[in-house]
């Protein structure tokens, strides 16, 4: 880490990740931010400690008589092969590389020099990488729910502040923001939204179904 991270994840988002109730797309941004931020790594460990306390305190259920011996019998079985998880590659932390299946992103242009690469998604949300040329604004957009945006390279500013590498912006539906990339190296972010981004200008909105954004 070359400079301190000043924008962190809210505790409840980390708690939801720890408990497994956060959707896959957001979980990816949480895992990527925690990879870069020890403050949030400690928050996650604290939430997991609380989870462990709850696990121990919740009512026990008796297990079948043979379960222990069946488990002991399997201790010497060869462990199922687990492919080594992809490592960090350049600006992409390990969980992002895992979502990319170990390959660097294949960018698709979405206009204005902005490129994107969708890396995951399910009913609950979509995660994507965005590549924003220096000085370029991401088209005016809103979103229907929570949006998490983590800076991997460069930086951006919007009405709420300035975001550097490792910083994460947490936005809700109320925020209509226009992130503009810093001068210098292109800005690369990984972002998760719970719904397709809705662009507020006519042309991008028309193209939205085509690009899947």
């Amino acid at each position: 880490m070359t400079h301190p991270i000043s924008h962190h994840l809210p505790a409840e988002v980390i708690a939801s990740y720890a408990a497994g109730s956060l959707g896959q797309a957001y979980s990816l941004v949480v895992a990527a931010h925690v990879s870069m931020c020890d403050t949030c790594r400690a928050e996650l460990a604290a939430q997991e400690a609380a989870g462990g306390v709850v696990l121990e305190a919740i009512g026990a259920a008796s297990v079948s008589a043979g379960l222990l011996s069946r488990t002991l019998d399997r201790l010497d079985d060869p462990a199922p092969p687990e492919p080594a998880p992809p490592a960090r590659n350049g600006v992409y932390p390990a969980p992002v590389m895992a979502a990319l299946k170990g390959r660097l992103p294949k960018w698709k242009a979405v206009g204005g020099g902005v490129k994107q690469c969708v890396i995951g998604g399910d009913r609950d949300g979509i995660s994507r990488l965005l590549f924003i040329p220096p000085g370029q604004a991401v088209p005016d957009h809103g979103h229907n729910g929570l949006e998490l945006t983590l800076v991997l390279q460069g930086g951006f500013s919007d009405a709420t502040g300035h975001f550097d590498v490792g910083d994460v912006e947490v936005a809700d539906a109320a925020l209509d923001h226009v992130p503009t990339a810093d001068p210098g190296p292109p800005c690369i972010v990984v972002a998760a939204t719970d719904a397709p981004l809705r662009f507020n200008t006519f042309l991008p909105r028309l193209l939205q179904p085509l690009f899947g954004i």
């Binding site: 939801s16 400690a42 604290a46 609380a50 379960l67 222990l68 488990t71 462990a79």
Partner: protein, 188 residues
């Protein structure tokens, strides 16, 4: 790392260190005796039917055995570590897709070791405090906390389900991370 577990560590930590350092199956059976019924109760509360619950319990405890080398009591208590494995397992089963996990911090055998056990003891004490705090909550509040960590609440619902004081355990863990980062830097 084959030193005997410190006698003042909790039973759970001692079992886990014997599993990690001596591959002790008796210690595994003791750990199983303590955690298997709790895990089963936990995953059933989270919605698994009884038969599937026992499969998950077995998977989780086999993972504990196989990944024991990754256990570091200065960074996570046994209960916290098993909670993580259980959540990952249950999510992988439900979603049929691996949950994104953060990069592991490189722990090499001798680094990250806590020679006098002070960090381990401090973390155990903080965890005891959390246990007391949970026990003292009013029933309705405790129910909300349980639901939060069972994964039944959304992040916005969790925001309102306050009750467990996590500030001191968080600072404690953060200090340990700073020390580890420092050691990793010196190794390079």
């Amino acid at each position: 790392m084959t030193t005997d577990p410190k006698p003042d560590y909790s039973e759970q930590t001692q079992w886990m260190l014997r599993i990690r350092d001596q591959r002790d199956k008796r210690a595994f059976a003791q750990l199983f005796g303590f955690y298997a019924p709790r895990l089963k109760g936990f995953v059933m509360r989270a919605g698994a039917p009884a038969a599937q619950a026992e499969d998950i319990v077995q998977d989780v405890l086999l993972t504990v055995w196989r990944k024991a080398h990754m256990f570091d009591p200065a960074r996570a208590q046994v209960s916290s570590w098993i909670y993580q494995i259980a959540r990952n397992r249950q999510i992988d089963v439900i979603r049929k897709e691996a949950r994104p996990v953060p990069e592991a911090l490189a722990i090499d055998d001798e680094t990250g070791e806590d020679p006098d056990g002070a960090e381990v003891m401090a973390l155990e004490q903080e965890t005891d405090r959390l246990r007391d705090a949970l026990a003292k909550l009013a029933p309705a509040q405790r129910e909300m906390i349980e639901r939060a960590y069972l994964g039944e609440l959304t992040h916005t619902e969790i925001r309102d389900a306050t009750g467990l004081p996590l500030g001191t355990i968080k600072s404690r863990i953060r200090l340990g991370l700073d020390r580890l980062r420092h050691e990793l830097k010196e190794l390079r």
